[in-house]
Symmetry: C2
Subunit: 204 residues, 2 copies
DNA sequence: GCATTTACTAAACAGTGTTTATTATATTCA
DNA sequence: TGAATATAATAAACACTGTTTAGTAAATGC
């Protein structure tokens, strides 16, 4: 029966339609203002219909969270061409920071908000996060092999790098960098300088 | 007229009653589940009454946010007795991390949630944050004077230290450290080890 | 052509923050 | 002391939210 396949295809198309609408609304107006009713209005269906395709609001935003990781992963893997592992590490960090600063709502969903992680508890594993973290790990492994960074436990070093850039980006996107009382562009520059200094301290 | 003073006192007492109830509910059940109606129920007044004492829900949580900073400040200033500035810096960092890990909801309000910062936009300055940050700055200043840490711009160094510990704590409280697939207590220990390593790299 | 499955939705439920109109109490002043 | 005023508190409503239920209309299977 080809009908079954068509129906499956239509179901997937409807899911895509919902995700596309939700993503566009989310990036324009943020999480809180992207209500089920507003998404329903946008795709010209009733709110109840959305619940035929997604368990709840969190599931919709979990998919958006996964899509955001795909985008970040692609940006990070571009640096595969950089042969020198330390230079690659530097590029990774800068790209990560740039992604967070330029896509604060995606960054929120990926690394700050609680909602998407509750979805994960049931599935045991945070696949999207592990993929990006794995790339950091392998880059640091290469750095250690070539004796380019201070010797330390691989996982501890990875956590150090990630925590540092996440600290910079998350304090910035959640408006805590206002203590510097600097214009926004100067603050952003300081963030990148801060990362450069961090790398210098990590270097052997 | 002493009546005016009594009224003012009563007004302040009512505000305290609301804050105490809200704080207790917030620490027990989190921000989202602490609704105006539930607070009203708890203090045995109508929801509308709360709006005679606070502009909106955000103002209540802004006060809680300030109180949380008072608690953290007191904990940090305890280390005033440590004469060696580098040792003091180490103690500050550990106490900051401990505070965040042991009071995740307070930490949320202070350094992660958007709500309290919107209150600040109107008042221009983030007094609570500046107080704690100022203490970090002065400690780092002493470290630099005594040539105990790598020479760098004071503010950049401060941002580095703060971002690093904030990165560790916020990834932990927002459940992103699950990528390590370690038991919770082992993860926490790794966080402290990571900070120790960071200090070692900062040291001259 | 009829029975069944599928797709969809109107309406309701239980909650949210906040405002308005009204009532009861306390204070002021003649 | 008694009438006028100011203050304190609230019931009810408004405009939302996520989600569920019951019912309808169309597509599919036989």
């Amino acid at each position: 029966m080809a009908i079954k396949e068509r129906k499956e295809r239509e179901k997937q198309e409807m899911r895509n339609l919902i995700i596309e609408s939700a993503t566009q609304l989310f990036l324009k107006q943020g999480y809180d203002k992207t209500s089920i009713r507003i998404i329903a209005d946008d795709i010209e269906y009733s709110p109840a219909t959305i619940y035929l395709y997604f368990k709840d609001k969190d599931e919709i935003f979990y998919v958006i969270h996964e899509n955001a990781f795909d985008i970040l992963d692609k940006e990070l893997r571009k640096h595969d061409v950089i042969a020198d592992p330390f230079e690659r590490l530097a590029a990774l960090g800068r790209t990560y920071m740039q992604f967070g600063i330029q896509n604060p709502d995606y960054y929120d969903l990926m690394f700050i908000m609680r909602a998407p992680m509750q979805q994960i508890r049931n599935e045991e594993k945070w696949k999207a996060g592990e993929c990006a973290f794995g790339y950091l790990i392998s880059t640091l492994e290469a750095c250690l092999e070539q004796d380019r960074i201070r010797k330390a436990d691989l996982h501890v070093t990875a956590i150090q790098v990630w925590s540092f850039v996440h600290g910079l980006v998350s304090l910035y996107v959640r408006e805590r960098m206002c203590i510097l009382m600097m214009p926004d562009d100067a603050t952003r520059e300081m963030l990148y300088n801060s990362f450069d200094l961090f790398l210098a301290n990590l270097k052997k």
